[in-house]
């Protein structure tokens, strides 16, 4: 089986390369590799940690589901949320 070498080139030069025309075949193969790589993670499903967090948030909010609780720390709602400080000051979008 042919093995290609990953060329030892520098990481990148900013936008200097005019993209050459790639055949649809090459595009398709790159796409296949991308999706294969991605699906390795996707196929792991939803770790319990995230189901727990959302369930707790949902319970906490039940009664007023669409009302966000401004100013409250999200860390309070989940015992294992404390590893990263959250910055509510930044808007999400």
């Amino acid at each position: 089986m042919n093995r290609r070498k990953v060329h030892p080139i520098q990481p990148y030069m900013e936008d200097e390369v005019a993209p050459k025309k790639l055949s649809s075949d090459i595009k398709a193969r790159i796409g296949q590799q991308l999706r294969a790589m991605y699906s390795d993670v996707v196929s792991q499903g939803v770790p319990e940690r995230f189901a727990d967090i959302l369930r707790k948030l949902d319970e906490k909010n039940s009664g007023a589901p669409a009302a966000p609780q401004e100013g409250s720390s999200p860390n309070e709602s989940s015992p294992d949320a404390g590893s990263k400080p959250s910055e509510q000051a930044d808007g999400p979008v």
Binding site: R35, M37, L57, P74, V93
Partner: protein, 184 residues
């Protein structure tokens, strides 16, 4: 529950696997990626009123996750200059990953791309978003996404020396892995 017939929690949960895959592609570290996803979910929940019903919840969550990553990255960059090890090295610790040489080379090649190009390529080529959605997520023009994706593909092809069909074919294992859906 939500304004739609499906509970918001359920819709968010469905997006989690793809959010994780995207987060890993951004930061190259599974544990950190999961922290990013968690923070994104908490922020999304706290700001549900800014979500427009009827629009793409998944794209909205990706936007939030990307913003979380970028704000944390700016902080971290000063603290740890690449102390986590390289992108490719950390990816090799992924459980359950398709292990073959082809894929390893592909991951390494991906690492060599500028972050903006890698991100755009992954959103369009792996997460299954349209160019419009990717532009919305990245907060830039559609044309910018298109040109990033084109440059990313070109560079990948040249790094991997893809010249012809026979030169770059998925093996059986890869084909099997590709049986999964493009987006959750």
């Amino acid at each position: 529950m939500g304004p739609s017939d499906k509970p918001i929690r359920e819709t968010m949960l469905e997006a989690v696997p793809s959010l994780r895959a995207f987060a890993i592609s951004l930061c190259g570290n599974v544990d950190r990626a999961d922290d990013l996803v968690q923070e994104a979910l908490l922020r999304a929940w706290a700001n549900l009123d800014s979500f427009q019903p009827g629009t793409n919840m998944s794209a909205w969550l990706f936007t939030i996750l990307r913003n979380v990553f970028r704000s944390e990255y700016r902080k971290r960059r000063r603290e740890v200059e690449d102390a986590d090890g390289s992108y490719a090295d950390s990816l090799t610790s992924l459980p359950n990953q398709t292990s073959n040489l082809e894929m390893d080379e592909f991951r390494k090649a991906l690492e060599l791309l500028p972050p903006d190009q890698r991100e755009s390529l992954i959103l369009v080529g792996a997460s299954g978003f349209s160019y419009d959605e990717a532009a919305q997520i990245c907060g830039c023009a559609v044309g910018t996404i298109k040109s990033r994706v084109n440059r990313a593909r070109s560079r990948l092809a040249s790094i991997l020396s893809i010249e012809s069909t026979s030169d770059f074919g998925p093996d059986h294992e890869t084909r099997a892995a590709m049986g999964g859906s493009r987006r959750p």
